[in-house]
């Protein structure tokens, strides 16, 4: 079967759904799920060995012939977009329904379709000009989705920050594509590795796509946008939209020659993103902001894989490069699935309690059992624990890094550095999600909101269940995904053809399955053995204190206290402290706030300085005719002086 008809079907269904979205929610839901499924089907066909699909239109848009192309690399990303686009739409049907949000729900549906459609186009268009158009419409659709709940000030400012950052990146991409077309003489995209003069353009692409991917110093827009967007939007933004940045970096490092330093830079930024992303995540007190920072960490892991693959391809096509890239591509899928699941779970918590503050939640596993179960799957996956999928892809990345170290080339140093940082980041990720699980779902409710919570509807639970099932499947049978991933790797670097799954992957698949069986068996045995026998409920012994309250539990900040201390040099925690005084202290207070360090300490001051200078220059334009004439005279005199001086020489 050919993939083309499916892709055309997907594009048609998505376009129709954008039109239908405002009026007919059910038609929209059917169309967008069908579109997502068709896109996923097209990708699966390409990934399972059907020839890649390429189509040149006879007519021109903006003076350029339409050129669509679906190869294995774009198919990897398109599958994710299709799955999350469909799952998120079903979730939105329950989460952001017409009944609850009569004003913004129709708008939200239409923009959702535009977002999924433009991401599909970004992945398939193979012309620089059209790519930019699709990229821009993708950015704008995301902006309108983030600001769907435009009433709140925080939401609006998050939206503007996103739009500004996104356009800073797009500016670099404009320069990138314009220079590319100027040097090659055509806007058409495709493999052009032979032209070595194109290599420096990679830096522009890295910046432009890095902003979208949320690479560490460029991530400033990401936490607030993901935290303030409606949860289904956060899910697709974090699961699929930031992957478009990764796709851009991969696509153009595969098609264009890259500078020699590119691999080092990408692996370095990736490792730093992973460590600092998770350090910031750990310190957050806001559930969705924590998840957003965790996305920075995961993009870091993916980019470590990508950078390692670049290093390998410049160091004579070493085998470990293939492992690293396979790990990165698999992690793109895994992160998309479990982060989508986690954001939907966070949305369910938010829906039930009305707050994202970890310090107001607690004890939700009794009130939201299904959400808790699926959130737990996501937590295990994101923490990189066996037997789930997060472990598999991270393990492939580690395997590649260890092989690189033992190969003793110059890249060994980069690999050691990256492995150390990734290891630390992995430990911190585990700790972060222990904190999330413990403060949100375990213990006693910390406030009335958490105490009165109720489980979400089926429309919200079903897509979470689907994503959780995919996480489990990819975790237990990683060899299923290997042929697809291997074709993606081959599309990036033709010298690394798809082969059978490496032995290590087969082994880990078996081990995961065995471990899962053991765990389930153990759980069943424990359930039968101790059911009813351990059910004595009592207070924790607390040195005889008579009136304990739920507020005496560990808070989110106290979980993170020690690690926040380690990373004080970058986190700059702001502390408001009022110590208890006297024998019978009346009030005491300890507030800790983690600022957006890069935004507040670097970008905001630089921006303020820039604005000050600009408004200083604006004072030159005041409307006084006399002074304008004076400017003309001064300019003329200066020109005259220049001419005279040039004549004297």
């Amino acid at each position: 079967m050919r993939a083309g008809p499916w892709l055309v079907l997907a594009l048609a269904a998505l376009t129709l759904s954008a039109v239908a979205g405002r009026r007919w929610p059910r038609t929209w839901l059917v169309l967008i799920v069908a579109g997502g499924a068709a896109a996923a089907a097209a990708s699966v066909l390409v990934l399972s060995g059907a020839p890649g699909w390429e189509w040149r239109g006879a007519f021109r848009i903006g003076g350029e012939a339409l050129h669509l192309r679906l190869d294995a690399l774009s198919a990897v990303f398109l599958a994710l977009v299709g799955v999350l686009g469909g799952a998120g739409a079903v979730y939105a049907h329950g989460y952001w329904s017409d009944a609850q949000y009569p004003a913004s729900a129709p708008r939200g549906r239409a923009w959702w379709s535009v977002l999924v459609l433009s991401m599909t186009l970004v992945l398939t268009l193979s012309n620089g000009l059209h790519f930019l158009v699709a990229w821009e419409s993708f950015a704008i659709a995301a902006f309108f989705l983030i600001t769907l709940d435009g009433g709140a000030r925080a939401v609006r400012s998050a939206g503007w920050l996103y739009l500004a950052a996104s356009h800073a990146g797009t500016l670099a991409l404009f320069a990138f594509f314009a220079l590319l077309s100027a040097r090659t003489g055509s806007w058409d995209l495709g493999p052009m590795n032979a032209q070595a003069a194109l290599a420096p353009l990679f830096w522009l692409a890295l910046f432009g796509f890095g902003v979208k991917a949320g690479l560490f110093p460029l991530h400033v827009w990401l936490p607030s946008a993901h935290a303030n967007a409606p949860s289904h939007v956060s899910a697709i933004m974090s699961g699929a939209a930031i992957k478009m940045g990764v796709y851009g970096i991969l696509r153009f490092s595969g098609w264009l020659p890259v500078p020699n330093a590119a691999g080092w830079v990408v692996i370095g930024f990736g490792a730093v993103s992973a460590l600092l992303g998770i350090a910031f995540a750990f310190a957050q007190g806001d559930l969705k902001r924590l998840l957003a920072y965790c996305s920075v960490e995961n993009v870091g892991i993916i980019l470590v894989g990508v950078g390692g693959a670049m290093l390998a391809s410049t160091a004579g096509d070493a085998v470990w490069g293939r492992l690293l890239l396979a790990g990165a591509l698999l992690h793109v899928w895994n992160h998309g699935l479990f982060k989508g699941l986690l954001f939907m779970g966070a949305g369910s918590v938010l829906h039930a309690t009305g707050t994202r503050e970890l310090s107001r939640l607690g004890g939700l596993w009794r009130r939201l059992p299904w959400t808790s179960l699926m959130f737990a799957v996501g937590v295990l996956a994101v923490a990189g624990l066996p037997p789930l999928n997060g472990f598999v892809s991270e393990w492939l990345v580690y395997l590649g890094l260890f092989d690189a170290v033992t190969s003793r080339g110059p890249s060994a140093w980069a690999a050691i550095f990256a492995a150390l940082l990734l290891g630390t980041a992995g430990a911190l990720a585990l700790a972060s999600f222990v904190k999330v699980g413990a403060t949100v779902f375990l213990g006693a409710p910390r406030g009335p909101a958490a105490a009165k919570a109720h489980e979400s509807g089926r429309a919200m639970l079903a897509p979470m269940g689907a994503l959780a099932a995919l996480c489990v499947t990819l975790g237990l049978a990683p060899t299923l995904a290997w042929p697809a991933i291997a074709r993606g790797v081959a599309a990036w670097h033709p010298a690394w053809p798809a082969t059978a799954a490496p032995l290590a992957l087969q082994a880990i698949g078996g081990a995961q399955l065995a471990l899962a069986t053991l765990l389930i068996a153990g759980a069943i045995v424990a359930w039968h053995q101790w059911r009813g026998k351990l059910a004595r409920r009592a207070l924790t012994w607390d040195c005889g204190y008579a009136v304990p309250t739920a507020r005496m539990q560990y808070s989110s900040a106290s979980f993170a206290g020690i690690v926040t201390g380690w990373f004080r040099w970058i986190l700059w925690p702001r502390l408001a402290l009022r110590r208890p005084r006297g024998l019978l202290p009346a009030r005491a207070l300890r507030l800790e706030r983690i600022p957006e360090t890069v935004l507040e300490l670097v970008i905001a001051p630089v921006g303020a300085l820039f604005l000050q200078t600009a408004s200083g220059a604006r004072r030159l334009q005041h409307g006084s005719l006399q002074a304008y004439i004076l400017y003309v005279v001064v300019a003329l005199a200066a020109l005259g002086a220049m001419v005279l001086e040039a004549g004297a020489r």
Binding site: Q621, H622, G623, S624, L625, Q626, A627, L630, L644, G647
Partner: protein
């Protein structure tokens, strides 16, 4: 050549008069007189005086010396403009600037690569000095009419430059320039009246609201 330099010298003197006078009618008069002097110059400059040159001279003298000042006087009367000038740059500093400009014009003209037959004439320094004077008036005066006078003096400087090329510039161009100028002044005369009616003032400092 000496006659021409005498005329140009007089015109440069009138520049300073325009800079130093505190009343509108005397600026207009100085501008008008300068226009007449400029009108005479082609007659002195050309060796064989044909009807064309006479026509240019008469048209210039009439236009710059009678028609335009007449229009300005009319606008001034119609708009009931106060005769006192409020300067941005005071009269003494204006005069000093004008004098400095004249000296600078002489110095600059010497360093310019001119044709030998123009080297000794005051045409180029006179032109530069008039343009600078025009600029000083444009920058340093508040009322619209006095700025129009500054613009006229500026244009006179350009005319002086044009005299360098009188042999090769077609008459039609000269006539066209003059016509443009007259129409321009005519329009400004009307606008001045309208501004006065709309804003009760001709102070250009108050006309900054409509920027951008």
């Amino acid at each position: 050549m000496r006659d021409l330099n005498l005329l140009i010298g007089l015109a440069m003197g009138l520049n300073l008069v325009a800079l130093g006078s505190s009343r509108l009618p005397s600026i207009i008069r100085a501008t008008a007189l300068q226009g007449v002097l400029l009108g005479i110059m082609p007659l002195v400059l050309e060796h064989d005086i044909g009807w064309q040159v006479v026509a240019v001279a008469v048209a210039t003298a009439l236009g710059k010396g009678v028609v335009i000042p007449g229009l300005l006087q009319r606008a001034m009367r119609a708009a009931h403009i106060e005769r006192e000038i409020e300067p941005f740059i005071g009269f003494v500093p204006s005069l000093l600037l004008g004098a400095l400009g004249t000296i600078a014009a002489l110095a600059v003209a010497r360093s310019l690569p001119l044709l030998p037959e123009h080297a000794k004439s005051l045409l180029v320094p006179g032109a530069l000095a008039s343009m600078l004077t025009g600029f000083v008036l444009l920058i340093g005066r508040v009322k619209a009419i006095s700025q129009v006078c500054g613009y006229l003096i500026f244009e006179n400087g350009i005319y002086l430059f044009g005299l360098l090329l009188i042999g090769s510039t077609p008459l039609l161009v000269e006539a066209g320039v003059l016509l443009d100028l007259t129409v321009g002044i005519f329009v400004i005369g009307i606008i001045v009246d309208r501004i006065q009616r709309a804003f009760d003032s001709l102070d250009t400092r108050k006309l900054t609201v409509l920027r951008e």
